[in-house]
């Protein structure tokens, strides 16, 4: 009980770490979704080289521990390209986005595969353009299918983000460690970080369920 109170008391000290985590994960998720859409588009392009490259990319990203990717971008790439010091914050955003794009593209691909058959030809037969087909017919059906899994991927990114502590990003995890060093309390800051991560991930799950309900509204099925 004492520890819980202490943990909660420590929460305000961690807020700037929370903001960093939020910023990095928010930016990374948006970029990841954009990347995922490009990957899916490339996969569907039918252009051999393009399909092949993004397939390799997705396989690599899914197989690569995210720490290695972060180290490659933070230490490896600047050395290779002679860049000097790079921003740990942006490396964090880019690493999580690169990883997230691969996973989210698989989610989108799965959702597209679950569309009822005949939607595309139904749209084309009515004279819709490709853009209109995707905007008016396919995307509104893909979203509710993909949303829970996409939210899961965002949660996954948040849980992966503490790895950025290793490259000097003062995120929620690293901030809790700093507080520990200042207060010599090993437990309180960690508990506080726990609570904040839980709230963060929980609210994403909640928001996705809410949105899913809104998106499927009226559709009896």
């Amino acid at each position: 009980m004492k520890y819980i109170v202490k943990g909660i008391e420590t929460v305000p000290l961690l807020l700037d770490g929370l903001v960093t985590t939020l910023l990095i994960c928010g930016l990374a998720s948006v970029l990841a979704l954009a990347g995922a859409i490009l990957i899916v588009a490339a996969r569907r392009s039918g252009k051999r080289l393009l399909v092949w490259s993004v397939t390799v990319y997705v396989t690599l990203m899914r197989g690569l521990p995210i720490v290695i990717l972060v180290f490659l971008l933070y230490f490896g790439m600047p050395a290779l390209l002679d860049l000097g010091r790079v921003s740990a914050f942006w490396v964090g955003v880019i690493a999580l986005a690169m990883n997230g794009a691969a996973f989210q593209s698989e989610v989108l691909r799965g959702a597209i595969a679950r569309l009822p058959k005949g939607q595309t030809e139904g749209g084309y037969a009515l004279g819709l353009s490709k853009y209109q087909l995707w905007r008016l017919v396919l995307t509104p059906q893909i979203l509710p299918i993909a949303l829970p899994a996409l939210a899961g991927e965002v949660g996954f990114l948040i849980k992966a983000s503490p790895v950025l502590s290793l490259i000097t990003v003062v995120d929620l995890t690293r901030r809790s460690q700093q507080v520990t060093m200042q207060t010599f309390d090993p437990l309180g800051p960690l508990l506080a970080a726990c609570v904040l991560y839980f709230i963060l991930i929980g609210s994403i799950a909640w928001a996705s369920r809410y949105l899913e309900g809104r998106l499927t509204v009226g559709r009896a099925r």
């Binding site: 009822p116 939607q119 030809e121 037969a125 009515l126 004279g127 017919v137 009226g218 559709r219 009896a220």
Partner: protein, 256 residues
């Protein structure tokens, strides 16, 4: 059907659809073999033939859902080529009704019917809705306008699909086995709507096994086998007097 104010070459438009020496391959397999077919405006054609004979592929070439690799397809004076403008123009003129309806499940019935007119033809919403209700009325389903497709029976969904196609005011309607996915008791209501259309003078190409429908409305029955049109005739002749062995074999299986 023909408007009075047409240019001298309007005679070409008496032909709604023409296929000339059309061939298509799936890989090494030749699905369509030098198909020749001319459909006059207002004509009603029923296409029959055994499974896999290329019936669907042929009519799907007419609105570019499948591409032919050889020969020439002209719809209402527009040749189907890689040119996107032509494809768009042809698709605006040609409606299609599918075996599995292909309604949009996330849209209500009325939204299914107004989507294409509003986005493709830029018809104002209120006008599009009026038109949609008119056609829904015609297929006797206007009272369901605000439901979603999944709330309707198969027969009702197929009638919505017909109304949806009509809302684009097409010059030609293609049907690909519109009743084969339906429970038997729902076939009649869909056929009734199709008969009504035929009476209104719509140019129709129907792939169907409903030989009663063929007898009732078709001007010509076309029999396909292995990618070829091997026989075509007026329905009475076609059923009474099939010429080709394969036609006879097919009819003996299907008509009883």
């Amino acid at each position: 059907m023909q408007s009075a104010t047409q240019q001298p070459e309007s005679k070409a438009h008496d032909i709604a659809v023409s296929l000339c020496q059309v061939s298509k391959w799936f890989g090494a397999f030749k699905v369509l073999q030098d198909i020749n077919l001319e459909v006059r405006t207002g004509e009603r054609i029923v296409i029959a033939g055994p499974s896999g004979s290329g019936k669907s592929t042929m009519i799907r070439c007419i609105n570019w859902l499948e591409r032919h690799q050889k020969g020439k397809i002209v719809v209402d004076g527009i040749e189907l080529t890689d040119n996107n403008k032509n494809v768009d123009a042809v698709r605006r003129d040609v409606g299609m009704v599918f075996q599995h309806f292909n309604l949009f499940p996330h849209l209500t019935i009325i939204e299914n019917c107004t989507l294409a007119p509003m986005w493709v033809k830029k018809v104002p919403q209120s006008l599009a809705r009026d038109t949609a209700l008119e056609y829904l009325e015609k297929v006797r389903i206007a009272d369901q306008a605000h439901k979603y497709p999944s709330q309707l029976s198969g027969g009702q969904q197929q009638r919505v699909a017909i109304a949806r196609a009509l809302c684009m005011k097409p010059k030609v309607l293609l049907f690909d086995e519109p009743t084969s996915a339906l429970d038997p008791e729902m076939v009649r209501e869909v056929l009734d709507s199709m008969v009504q259309l035929a009476k209104d003078g719509m140019t129709m190409l129907c792939v169907t096994h409903e030989m009663g429908f063929a007898r009732q409305v078709a001007d010509r029955v076309i029999f396909m086998d292995r990618g070829e049109i091997i026989e075509e005739n007026a329905p009475t002749e076609f059923f009474a007097n099939p010429q080709h062995e394969r036609t006879k074999a097919f009819l003996s299986q299907i008509v009883h």
